[in-house]
Amino acid sequence: MKRTYGALLGACATVAFASAAYAETITIATVNNGDMIRMQGLTDDFTAKTGHEVEWVTLEENVLRQRVTTDISTKGGAFDIMTIGMYETPIWGANGWLVPLDDLSEEYDVDDILPAMAGGLSHDGTLYAAPFYGESSMIMYRTDLMEKAGLEMPEAPTWSFIREAAAAMTDRENDINGICLRGKAGWGEGGAFITAMSNSFGARWFDMDWNAQFDTQPWKDTLEFYVGMMNESGPAGYATNGFNENLSLFQQGKCGMWIDATVAASFVTNPNDSTVADSVGFALAPDTGLGKRSNWLWAWALAIPAGSQKEDAAKQFIEWATSKDYIELVAENEGWANVPPGARTSLYENPNYMEVPFAQMTLDSILSADPNNSTVEESPYVGVQFAAIPEFAGIATEVSQEFSAVYAGQQSIDEALEKAQAITNDAMEAAGYR
């Protein structure tokens, strides 16, 4: 009561007071990525429109996952909105842990959400989280270095071209590495990259009976290709490089090519942060001619835990943060290149946005990833760079640690694959799949 009164006074002092009578304070857990931090900075707009206050819990990605997973599985109720990804949403939705987002307002225009994103954030056709931004992965390369190497990047290159180009662009004297890729352990870091890459080599995590497939040739091919290429043309210590490390390497002009999240495009082309902003080109992630490319699909999305006492206010926030108006608001304040990408179809119909150099390639990349059909051979799971089953995060983190040990030269590819096979089968057995 007291709080409502206070908020009412506050609201009178500013603008709206019609909605202030319902004013609540909602707690939102989110990840410390640039787009989310921008959203925090714009919270006042939401408060002015609805009267609700927002308290932010901004955490680094790994800590965030740990925090929200504990809270949701114990029904702790510490958060009214959680920022989660395409991996968690279908699993939590299936468990009935999230509030279905099936009654969003007319003006929100839920059909405008890119089908690939809406699909990945739904369970049984019901949307459980609204995408704040979506991404695939693509090649970002230095046009100047490519020219210097006497090569031309095709729109849709193959892995063998990439390897060749990487070797040609490498210039150790001047600290230029032909290619920078993620090698850091963790299912969402190097694990995501190598899984997406393995798709293009014809590998898969599980066969239709949930048997691990690390004893198959495609996995061996993938790792041999990756390690061979990185040793030829990659940066020192790539075994610990994740998204951030590679981003700063690229921004400092130390990478010829970088295959990573499409959202990185706005960072590497931002002249405030990047020393190479005006010479960056984009291309689709490579393939090997087997019919699958090595790009992933991901969205950071906002979801409401079931049982939240502040469901209405939380829904209002989600509608605000993932709306077309929000995109306009960011464009006004920060320019079109900085709006959260990859969530809405209308954004890619906006001529202002399509002038941004990476807009088309981002859309093409997103459209070429299909979570329901990501592997060459048939697989029982949904997801491109992950399998949307609860056990995956744990298994894939351990497996990627074995891979990182290969990258650091601590074990052979065969040893790592053997361990990966054992770890995966063991965990799947523990979970009752096999």
Binding site: N33, E60, R67, K75, G76, G77, A78
Partner: protein, 276 residues
């Protein structure tokens, strides 16, 4: 002749000690310096030590992005509260162990220490569920209780070792004069043990301030202390060394300053009964 030798030795001692001291302190110094650089200067090759354009920009960014005052206040309340509560509970226990020892005293003491060996991650779910049931999730009082329990064995042990050094005759004399147990503890024992209590207080404030598992996992927006504040700067997208340094400096500065001002207390009091 003898004097020359001592002076020489003093010079060598001074040089070596300062060298080591600066080496040990260097990571902190570097963090503080980096916090005043721009992001580009923070990763400059070769590294810049002092000749950069000093800027407060990182601090401004951090202050704008997060409510530092709130985190700081939570840290103070949680670290201070848990320590004081712990001392209130530990003083009587340590007293009875020191002055009315029994065969089991030593076992009890060691058992208390052994409770600290329970791996925190293993009991996260049980404790989390318990906190939900008790309605103290994301509350300062919940963290005060947990951190008090975590540090209680150390507090009891430290106080016990101080109390043991107080000669029993003094207490006996007081008892002869008709002092009650309560009076004995409050008017005689506690004043005599002030230095010990002070260093116990300090050590436990430091331990509680730096505790990063429970403080991070049992809080959300309301009770989050500086450990959670750091978790939002640890590895964001893009260049972040300078901002991370600014946030780190802000998180450790209060306790560093407290530690420095009271280092005499800490040095003289931190014995754990190691000195006869």
């Amino acid at each position: 002749m003898a004097r020359a030798v001592t002076t020489n030795r003093k010079i060598i001692n001074t040089a070596v000690a300062w060298g080591i001291g600066l080496l040990v302190f260097f990571p902190i110094l570097w963090t503080i310096l980096t916090s005043f650089k721009t992001e580009a200067q923070a990763i400059a090759d070769p590294p810049i030590f002092l000749g950069f354009d000093w800027t407060l920009e990182n601090y401004a960014v951090v202050m704008e992005r997060s409510d530092y005052g709130k985190y700081l206040w939570n840290s103070i309340v949680i670290a201070g509260g848990s320590t004081i509560l712990g001392i209130i509970i530990a003083v009587p226990a340590a007293w009875s162990m020191a002055f009315v020892p029994s065969k089991k005293t030593k076992d009890i003491l060691l058992w208390m220490l052994s409770t600290k060996m329970l791996p925190a991650v293993g009991v996260l779910y049980p404790i989390y569920l318990l906190f939900i049931k008790m309605g103290i999730l994301d509350s300062k009082i919940g963290l005060v209780i947990v951190l008090m329990l975590i540090n209680l064995p150390i507090i009891v042990w430290m106080l016990y070792t101080y109390f043991k050094e107080i000669p029993g005759e003094i207490l006996e004399a007081a008892r002869m004069d008709g002092a009650s147990l309560k009076e004995e503890v409050i008017y005689i024992l506690t004043p005599m043990a002030i230095p010990g209590i002070a260093s116990t207080l300090l050590l436990n404030v430091i331990l509680a301030w730096n505790e990063a598992f429970w403080t991070l996992n049992l809080t959300a927006a309301k009770a989050a202390p500086l450990t959670a504040f750091i978790a939002s700067y640890s590895s964001p997208e893009g260049l972040f060394y300078a901002k991370l340094s600014a946030a780190s400096t802000m998180a450790i500065a209060p306790i560093l300053i407290l530690g420095w001002f009271s280092q005499k207390q800490l040095v003289s009091g931190l014995t754990f009964g190691a000195v006869k």
